[in-house]
Amino acid sequence: MEPSRDTHATLVDLLDRILDKGLVINADIIISVAGIPLIGVNLRAALAGMETMLKYGVMQAWDEKSRAWEREHRKKNLLSLIEGEEIALKMYGSYYYSKGIYNTWRPGYFYLTNQRLILYRQDFEEVTFQIPLEEIKALVTREEAHFVKGKKKQVLYLIDKQDQVHRLSTVETDQLKDAIEQILVTLGLSLEVSPVLPEFEKGPIDFLTEEEEVTHRGEKVWYLVPASGIQQETRRPGHLYLTNKRLCWWYDFERKLVFDVPVDRIVKVNTEMKKTSDLDSKKEKVLDILYQANLTKRTSSFAGKEIDEWAEALNGIISGKIGEETETCPQCGKPAPAKKLLEEGCSSCGWVSPVSPRLKQRTENRRQRTKKITA
């Protein structure tokens, strides 16, 4: 094979070299524009990226300058401290923020000072969480499931003097806990020894079997516990959990599952207004679940604030039994029911099948919008 010099393609190869390469000269003596050494800047833009220039070291000084500028302007939104306050520890982490329907882990930097513990988000100049150190009553760490399946994370429960519980998480949770404790000691403050974690708002979930995942949960639900022995049937407070395998009810007081039915045994759900207490004549919405138990059918009754949501979730399961075959998402590989994947897309990565009604709806919406705009 012979090298060639005169076709169109080879010309491009040569011009690339002339624009991008060649001996590099000390920038002091060559013509430059606004501090940028000029080697065909306007021409180069079309043919090569900034990166190439950096590679040859021509623009390092300039690059350094713009970075310095960036650093300078970022300093402005640093956390403002109280007089005499000193930062003892800074650590990346997050705070579980829960208000109304909004609950999520909000990330930022934890600043531990000699006066406060603060979670600060620099980009938004927002203090997400802060507490004066003397308000801390107790600290407990606990291992919890990470949102990445199979991973665990250490969560730090901070209990304040009002018995409010805050959930914090950092890359080094133990280190943060140790640091807080040390500072408290130097301040002459002490924490409660072996504290008991107050019941967490939505109850603990440690009854899950392997590959079991909670798909629906909610506020407190009252279960009509069947009569046994001298005990009459009574409504008791607890929490309902719907998983990919069963529907179960956790009895908060005894801290155990009392009601537990595989989802494929559920036959029918029904909602009705009923009197739920002998002391009160007021009627309340009640959810009755008909399910197959051994050879007979049984009904269990639940009451609570979110009965409609529960009925919807359970009806979804009953009607969704067809097409329950699991598939994995083509984008991220997460297993999910095939029907759900096709109709709603993947809940973990956001993949949507082009045949899904959701996507159709989306594109339809967009079309309507553009129509409006053009009109």
Partner: protein
């Protein structure tokens, strides 16, 4: 008005000669000697050449290339400069003074570079593949992919679509692996035939082929035959093609 010097290349020797009116815009190209080095320049205004007109720019670039080429033939070895390298003067300092100051300061370095490049030329080697042909081959030879592509046929329309995406992802991964493997093989193969080698960024092409490998190679002017033979082997592989360009002045090795 102040003057400046447009710099084409550095050569060995100290004769005050003229190469003729072959420079950009028909300007006279001549040598400014300093000790045993000379700078090949033309006189210009202290402002860069720039234009929105693509054809004009192309003409400038080819002229630049031509001047470097002429000097290369005349002097044997050159240190080429990129387009639009213009030495300016400062207050009370002529551009020639600045130029000589730089040559003095960098003298040893430049001499060494020239010695290293003696009798050598630069060649461009670019290897492409046709992703269509390669992926067709991969479907046949990778059991996992083959199985998946068979399965698609028995699936409903919606599921088939999902499987198709899965297949594409899998194929993409395999293609990347394959590209990696070929890159290493070709690189080793070519490296054995050349003096120095530089990996350049691959570029996207509009055509139905992907650039797999983009190399600049430095070798003795007369030794391109061995490299050519090696490249022929690659060219003959199914789905591959090679672009072999040169000899160029050693733009990439200065």
């Amino acid at each position: 008005m102040a003057e400046a010097r447009y710099l084409y290349c550095i050569v060995e020797g100290n004769k005050e000669i003229t190469l003729g009116d072959i420079g950009i815009g028909g300007s006279r190209v001549y040598a400014i000697p300093f000790q045993n080095l000379s700078a090949i320049v033309h006189n210009c205004l202290p402002k860069p050449y720039k234009s929105e007109d693509q054809e004009k720019v192309k003409l400038w670039l080819t002229t630049h290339a031509k001047v470097v080429e002429v000097a290369w033939e005349k002097f044997g070895t050159v240190l080429p400069l990129g387009f639009d390298t213009i030495i300016k003067g400062d207050e009370g300092i002529a551009p020639d003074e600045n130029l000589k100051k730089w040559l003095r300061g960098d003298y040893e370095n430049l001499r060494q570079k020239l010695a290293k490049l003696k009798d050598r030329a630069e060649f461009g080697v670019q290897v492409f593949w046709d992703p269509k042909i390669i992926s067709e081959g991969l479907i046949e030879t990778t059991p996992e992919i083959k199985k998946l592509s068979e399965e698609i046929k028995s699936k409903s329309k919606g599921l088939a679509y999902m499987y198709k995406q899965k297949l594409e992802n899998l194929l993409k991964k395999e293609m990347e692996k394959e590209a990696d493997r070929y890159f290493k093989d070709f690189y080793e193969q070519i490296k054995r035939c050349v003096d120095q080698i530089k990996v350049e960024k691959t570029k996207k092409l509009e055509e139905d082929k992907q650039m797999l490998l983009n190399l600049s190679c430095l070798l003795f002017k007369g030794k391109s035959k061995i490299l050519g033979e090696e490249l022929e082997k690659i060219e003959h592989l199914k789905g591959f093609s090679v672009r072999f360009t040169g000899p160029w002045p050693p733009y990439s090795f200065v």
